[in-house]
C-alpha cells in the first residue's frame, strides 16, 4: 500500500510539470495554431539558468525569478524572430521552424552553460518528509503547489483581464478579432511570453527533483505532447488532467513494469489516443472545414 502511495506521489509530482508543459502548448496552439516543438526547451532554459545562477552564489529567491524572465524573453524572441517573419507559412513549415528553434536553443545552452547534468538544493532543503509510510521531498510540494498557483493565475488572467480576453478572442477567431479592433499581434506575443514563462517556471521548480541538462527538452516536449493529446488538443482543462495522468502512468510503469521503459509510456499513450480517440478526453470532436 505504501508502495502504491509512493508511486502516486512521484507520479503527481512529475505530472504537475507535464501539466505545465501541456498548458504552455495549449496557450500557443490556441492563439496561433502553431504546434510548438520548442516547448520543452523553455523548461530546460528555466532549470539551467537557475542552476547556473545558484552555482554562482545567487540566492534562490533572486535566481528563480531571473530564470523565469530569461525563459519569457526567449519565448518572445522565438515569436518575433522565427514565427512572425514566416507569416502565413503552411503548417509543415511552422513545424519545421519550431523544431529548428528547439535544436538551436539546445545548441546555445550547450555553449552558454555546458553538457553536464545539473540540479540544486530544493527550496526547503532535501530532507524527505515521511507520509503514511511513503517519503516525499519538500520540493514536490513546491512543484505541485507552484503549478496550482500558476494554473489559477492563468485562469484569472485569461478570464478577467483585458489582455487575457484579447488572447481568448484571438484564439477563437483571429480574423474576427482583428475586425473588432483587437491587437492580435500583441495577443500572440503575450501567448508566447506566458507559455515560455510557465515552462521556465516549471523548470525552475522541477530541477531539484528531476535534474536537467541541455538536451532534456525533447523528452519533456514528448511528454507534454502526450498529455496534451490525452487531454484533448486545445483544451486547458484537458492539459491539466492529461499532465497528471501521464505522470501517474509513467510512475506506475516505472514501479510495476520496468524503469528502463518508463519514458516509453508517454509514446504508447500517444499511439493509443491516436488509434482510439483522436479528440482526447476533453477535446471537441471537430469536423474539418473546407
Amino acid at each position: 500500500m505504501s508502495e502504491l502511495l509512493q508511486f502516486v506521489l512521484s507520479g503527481v509530482t512529475v505530472g504537475a510539470i507535464y501539466a505545465a508543459v501541456a498548458l504552455g502548448f495549449t496557450l500557443i496552439y490556441n492563439a496561433s495554431g502553431v504546434v510548438n516543438f520548442a516547448q520543452g526547451e523553455f523548461v530546460v532554459i528555466g532549470g539551467m539558468t537557475a542552476a547556473a545562477l545558484i552555482a554562482l552564489g545567487v540566492p534562490v529567491i533572486i535566481a528563480a525569478p531571473l530564470a523565469v524572465i530569461a525563459g519569457t524573453l526567449v519565448g518572445i524572441a522565438l515569436y518575433r524572430l522565427a514565427i512572425k517573419p514566416a507569416g502565413k507559412a503552411p503548417l509543415v513549415s511552422l513545424v519545421i521552424i519550431t523544431i529548428g528553434a528547439s535544436i538551436f536553443l539546445r545548441g546555445v545552452m550547450q555553449v552558454v552553460f555546458d553538457k553536464q547534468i545539473h540540479r540544486y538544493e530544493g527550496f526547503s532543503g532535501d530532507d524527505a518528509l515521511r507520509f503514511l509510510g511513503a517519503t516525499l521531498l519538500p520540493q514536490s510540494l513546491w512543484i505541485i503547489g507552484g503549478s496550482f498557483v500558476v494554473f489559477a493565475a492563468l485562469a484569472w488572467f485569461i478570464g478577467h483581464t483585458h489582455a487575457g480576453r484579447g488572447i481568448r478572442a484571438t484564439a477563437s477567431n483571429r480574423f474576427a478579432a482583428v475586425l473588432v479592433g483587437i491587437n492580435t499581434g500583441r495577443a500572440m506575443n503575450l501567448s508566447f511570453a506566458l507559455s515560455a514563462g510557465i515552462g521556465a517556471l516549471a523548470g525552475v521548480l522541477a530541477t531539484p527533483v528531476t535534474f536537467t541538462s541541455y538536451d532534456a527538452g525533447v523528452l519533456m516536449a514528448l511528454k507534454g505532447f502526450s498529455a496534451t493529446m490525452l487531454g484533448g488538443v486545445g483544451s486547458p482543462a484537458g492539459a491539466l488532467v492529461g499532465g497528471f495522468a501521464i505522470g501517474l502512468i509513467e510512475a506506475m510503469t516505472a514501479g510495476y513494469i520496468s524503469s528502463d521503459y518508463k519514458d516509453a509510456a508517454a509514446f504508447i499513450v500517444i499511439l493509443l489516443v491516436l488509434f482510439v480517440m483522436p479528440q482526447g478526453l476533453f477535446g471537441r470532436r471537430t469536423t474539418e472545414r473546407v
Partner: protein
C-alpha cells in the same frame, strides 16, 4: 528530356565526377557518407516534398536497417539478404504505425514519429543481449571490392564503397523521380497541395500518405544498412533524435520538393563539418539555425531558389 533519364545522367555524372577529383581515401570515405545520406534524404523528399508530411523519427527506420545487417548475420542470414529484411521490416512498421495516424491531418505524424524514434532508440540501448547496448556492435565484414574484383576491376575498399553507395543512391534518386512523375506521384503531389481537392478527384488520401511514409522508411533503412556495413560498426546513436533532425535539415536546406535538393543538402551538411571543424562542435546551433533561416528566408530550399534565380536571369537576358 525525360525527367527520369535526366536524373539518371545527372546523378551518375556526379558520382563519376567525385571519383575523378577525389585525391585520397579520406575523400572517398566522405563521398560514401554523402551518398548514404542522399539515400535517406531522398526518402524524406518523398515524404516531405511530395506529400508534405514531417517525420521526426526517420533515424529509427535508419537504425532498423543498420541493426538488421548487424544482428541477422549472427543467425545465419547473409548481409545482402539482411538488408532486404531490414528494409521490409521498416516499411511494414511504417504502414502499421502510419495507418491510424495518417487518417488525421496536420502535425500528428511529426509527434508520433518523434515518439517512435525515441522508442526504437530506447530498445536498442536497453536490450543489450541483442544489440550490444549503448556501446553498439560490430558488423560482420563485408567488402564490395570483391564484387568489383569479380568483373575484373581492382580498387581500394574505400573506393569500392564509394562506387557502391553512389550507385545505390543513383538507383534511389531515379526511382524517386520516376515515382514523382507517375500517376501515383501526381496523386501524392495533389495531396500536398490540398487533401480535400485530392480526395474529391478520387485520390485515396490516407492510403497515399501511408504509401509515401512506408517508401520513405524503406529508403532510410537501406541507407542505414549501407552505413553499418561500410563502417563495420554501429551504435544506438544512429537512431537518435539528432540524426532524424539532420535528415530533415538536409532535405529542407537543399529543397525538399526535388531529389536534387536531397543531393545538395546531403553534400553541404555532410561536407561542412569535415571542412569547418567548429561546425561539428556547434552542430545543434548550425542545424537549428539552418532550419529556421531556410524556412523564413528561402522556404523552398537552395535548389528551387537557384532554379528560380537562373530562370529570372534568363528572362532578363531575353528581354534586353
Amino acid at each position: 528530356m525525360n525527367p527520369t533519364l535526366k536524373a539518371l545522367l545527372i546523378t551518375l555524372a556526379l558520382v563519376v565526377a567525385g571519383a575523378l577529383i577525389f585525391p585520397s581515401s579520406y575523400y572517398f570515405r566522405v563521398g560514401s557518407l554523402i551518398w548514404i545520406n542522399t539515400i535517406s534524404v531522398t526518402g524524406i523528399v518523398v515524404l516531405l516534398g511530395y506529400v508534405g508530411l514531417v517525420s521526426l523519427g526517420h533515424a529509427g527506420f535508419f537504425a532498423i536497417g543498420a541493426y538488421a545487417v548487424a544482428v541477422l548475420p549472427g543467425y545465419g542470414v547473409p548481409s545482402g539478404a539482411a538488408l532486404f529484411v531490414g528494409a521490409a521490416a521498416a516499411g511494414l512498421l511504417a504502414m502499421v504505425i502510419g495507418r491510424p495516424i495518417l487518417r488525421l491531418s496536420g502535425y500528428y505524424l511529426a509527434i508520433a514519429t518523434l515518439g517512435l524514434g525515441m522508442l526504437i532508440w530506447m530498445v536498442l540501448t536497453k536490450e543489450s543481449w541483442l544489440t550490444g547496448g549503448p556501446d553498439g556492435m560490430v558488423v560482420a565484414g563485408f567488402n564490395p571490392r570483391h564484387w568489383f574484383a569479380l568483373v575484373g576491376i581492382k580498387m581500394k575498399s574505400t573506393e569500392a564503397w564509394y562506387w557502391l553507395t553512389g550507385l545505390v543512391a543513383t538507383i534511389g534518386v531515379v526511382l524517386a523521380v520516376n515515382l514523382g512523375n507517375s500517376p501515383w506521384g501526381r496523386a501524392l503531389r495533389a495531396v500536398h497541395d490540398s487533401d480535400v481537392a485530392a480526395s474529391s478527384l478520387g485520390v485515396d488520401v490516407a492510403r497515399a500518405k501511408v504509401v509515401a511514409f512506408a517508401i520513405s522508411a524503406v529508403y532510410a533503412a537501406v541507407a542505414g544498412s549501407l552505413l553499418a556495413l561500410a563502417n563495420g560498426y554501429i551504435t544506438p546513436d544512429t537512431a537518435g533524435f539528432m540524426h532524424s533532425v539532420e535528415m530533415v535539415t538536409m532535405a529542407v536546406l537543399g529543397g525538399a520538393t526535388t531529389v536534387y535538393g536531397a543531393i545538395v543538402g546531403s553534400l553541404i551538411l555532410t561536407a561542412l563539418p569535415q571542412v569547418l571543424t567548429f561546425v561539428a562542435e556547434y552542430e545543434h546551433i548550425v542545424l537549428g539555425g539552418v532550419m529556421v533561416a531556410t524556412m523564413v528566408a528561402m522556404r523552398r530550399g537552395l535548389v528551387p531558389a537557384l532554379g528560380d534565380l537562373a530562370h529570372r536571369l534568363a528572362m532578363r537576358g531575353r528581354s534586353k
